[in-house]
Amino acid sequence: MGDVKEKQVTTLSDVTVRFAGDSGDGMQLTGTQFSDTTAWVGNDLSTLPDYPAEIRAPAGTLYGVSGFQLHFSSNDVNTPGDVPDVLVAMNPAALKKNLSELKPNGTIIVNTDSFDPKNLKLARYTANPLDDDTLNGYHVYQVPITSLTKNALEKSPLSPKEVSRCKNFFALGLMYWLYNRPLDKTEEWVQDKFKKKSDLVDANLKALKAGYNFGEITEVFTTRYKVEPAKLPKGIYRNISGNEALSLGFLTASVKSGIPLFLGSYPITPASEILQYISSYKDFGVKTVQAEDEIAGISSAIGAAFAGNLAITTTSGPGMALKTEAIGLAVMTELPLVIVDVQRGGPSTGLPTKTEQADLLQAVYGRNGEAPAAVIAARTPRDCFYMAIEASKLALKYMTPVILLTDGYIANGSEPWRIPAVDDIEDFPVTFQTEKEGFQPYSRDENYVRPWAIPGTIGLEHRIGGLEKANITGNVSYDPENHDEMVRIRTDKIKKIVNDIPNLKVEGDQEGELLVLGWGGTFGTLRDAVARARKNGIKVSQAHLQYINPLPKNTGDVLKRFKTILIPEINLGQLSKLIRNEFLIEVEQFNLVRGLPFKTKDILAKITEVSGGSNGK
């Protein structure tokens, strides 16, 4: 390798990469590092981590494959991409599992060292796909990643097993070279992460550079690629996942409301990270109780709400089911409480690490009795920040439980976020009842909201609980008229929230043939699909619900303005049911419940089908 030939540089506007390997290969880490660097150099991006529920599934197996997909561009990015342009496959199983998803003519980088008889057999290959015609039509780069990593770390004092673990940094370095990314961010990260283990710092940095140099020096790669920075609005940015954005949102809500944050929670995939993030904000006086179970999580939060904190509980579907009775208690006691449900595939344990939107009806209706609660939903990772604040605001203002729905896809996925100035977020100070004169625990303001009188306040001693309360006095009451009145008051109180939420916005024509109506984490995909359909000449508009109970005031008007309403959901039609029920209109459904986010092409096909293929042409 005497002379280094000048490599060709091709500029691309849009790339989707998928890293795939064993669940112990560090693919999530590799993907996250690549994302952070890519965000840092100014591309817009969206990510899709996809991993098995098993922490270390047996090595080499198909079900043990862990993947991380990343879509980055010099343009606006709304989705992690339908089909990868590039697949990095660390073993045969990763190749087998992901090959069918790869773009025709796509690029494959394989770790040839792992294509041994044992791994081929585990991946159910009868012949080595590197030797037969399996990969015809693809650009295949065969790189002995494991042995090159070993060579680079020849002098490392690490054990052979530890050395082998560094191979993901080699792959990362190679990808950095291929896409012209600097190593700085990852180098900083490695130095910080392993600061007490200098051998690991050395080894990982060496592997990273070896990968980079391999691209630079060898003749295997003749072209490298460049993706120019995206034209994003001015500001300071960070790359953020939904779970982290949500955690920061609650922290901000606590600062802006002026009351301490209390989180009672029990670890559950994919919501555990929220408890992890929030428990690190102790310098803000935040209190976190990792409870003995889901029920204790929400019950402790209800106790904290009674005592005057901004109380929240976080979970996923199975935990939501367990919290049901306690949500009813919060409805009855009319205490502010935010319940976050990071939806995953169900029912029961279902698909813990996969995404779904099938808890909507559970959130809206899933309680005994007439038990209305506000339900709102975040639509992108960064939107989780704003919706956490919104949920807190509504809970505090209306003295009610608010259910905030996110999902595994936006919780784990990340995108660049223009960080708002702290002063641009408005304060919403809380006023506790302190006036003794005329105090009644269940008196009402114009929004039917009762006063919040917290223990420790002189002269306001009172009792609340799950038994029906007499309106105004709050005493236990079995009176039939009172019960009927209270059932209606609790319902009307939630309806009043409509005055506090923004109208439903329509993107595109404000009236016409077809409206794609979505909610929650499908936003980016629907947006892309609608944009592409419009490019194809189809007349289609988009509206996306962030508020589901109550629905925005103008929802009915918006729906009336379109001939056809198409509602795509990752469930069997739960929003469709709500919309039909509320507005007595027919809607078109699109439902795919695969534990994965929608693909733009599937939505585009449905839009095309619904519009008869000739809409607007």
Binding site: L232, Y237, Y281, S300, R418, P420, K436, E461, L467
Partner: protein
Amino acid sequence: MANNTESNAKNYTAKDFTSDQDVRWCPGCGDYSILAQVQRTLPELIEKEKEKVVWVSGIGCSSRFPYYMDTYGFHGIHGRATAIATGVKVANPDLDVWVATGDGDLLSIGGNHFIHTCRRNVDIKILLFNNRIYGLTKGQYSPTSEKGKVTKTTPFGSVDWPFNPISLAIGSEATFIARTIDRTPKHLQQMIKRLGGHKGVAFLEIYQNCNIFNDGAFFSLTEKETKDDTVLILEHDKPMVFGKDGNMGIKLDGPKPMIVDLSSGAYSKDDLLVHDEFSEEPVLAMILAHITDDPKFPTPIGVFRQVKRESYDNGVEEQIKTVIEKRGEGDLEKTLFGANTWEVN
């Protein structure tokens, strides 16, 4: 702002803790005595700032208790009282948090929350009204009902082995564990005082007679003719003597407790077990808990065990202080903009 600036009322009486709600337990229920003793005792424990007292309960007859107390109160859902109380206490450690609960509420549906509240040592006081029956649902056996008990759901006798609440509390590392009886008002008052004085989780089992569905469950412990022979009153540093004439005693034979007759001349008080409430080892408390289930032995009442350990709520506060000392008060601007940012111009 009427009243808010007034200095706190002091020298409370039982009346200050009595709400305006009619008490709705069955006439003759043991709960009346417990309510009366609590209302009588609190003025001695709570010298000021009554507004800091919070009563939390779950579901069952006993759980109506908060409605009858003129303090802050929260009537929760079945089994969750200690979890709700944990939230109240952690959110505001300044509050004085009490739980009223029953054997079904605390030990059946709420068993998990109970053991975890004990191990965490949350600074709350738990009054277990143990009547060994489900009263509010009208007479099904409970997790403390004796094996063989005939109830509506066990017409042929219960085949369940019951919980021993004291040994459960010891096993869960509760830091204060005591027992008393509804019909021994003076002892009940003493125990409430001790409970209130403890910093950490304090558990008091109160044998409470349900005169409708399990009448007489504890009669042998409360009737004049029998109680001296059936009750062992635990007193710190005192030998364990019982019996009408104080002529019976408990002695250890190896690890096994045995009853000795002091009038036989073979044993003197010096041979007897001496109670040590503050023993770090749970062995003595466990032996005493277990003789409850043995019909040959008297039933101990009093403080089984009291040890010092940092309370959970205090730990939470201290940790926050430590982190703030180390990092300084949280700065939202810094936290939002802190990590891996870049600027787009």
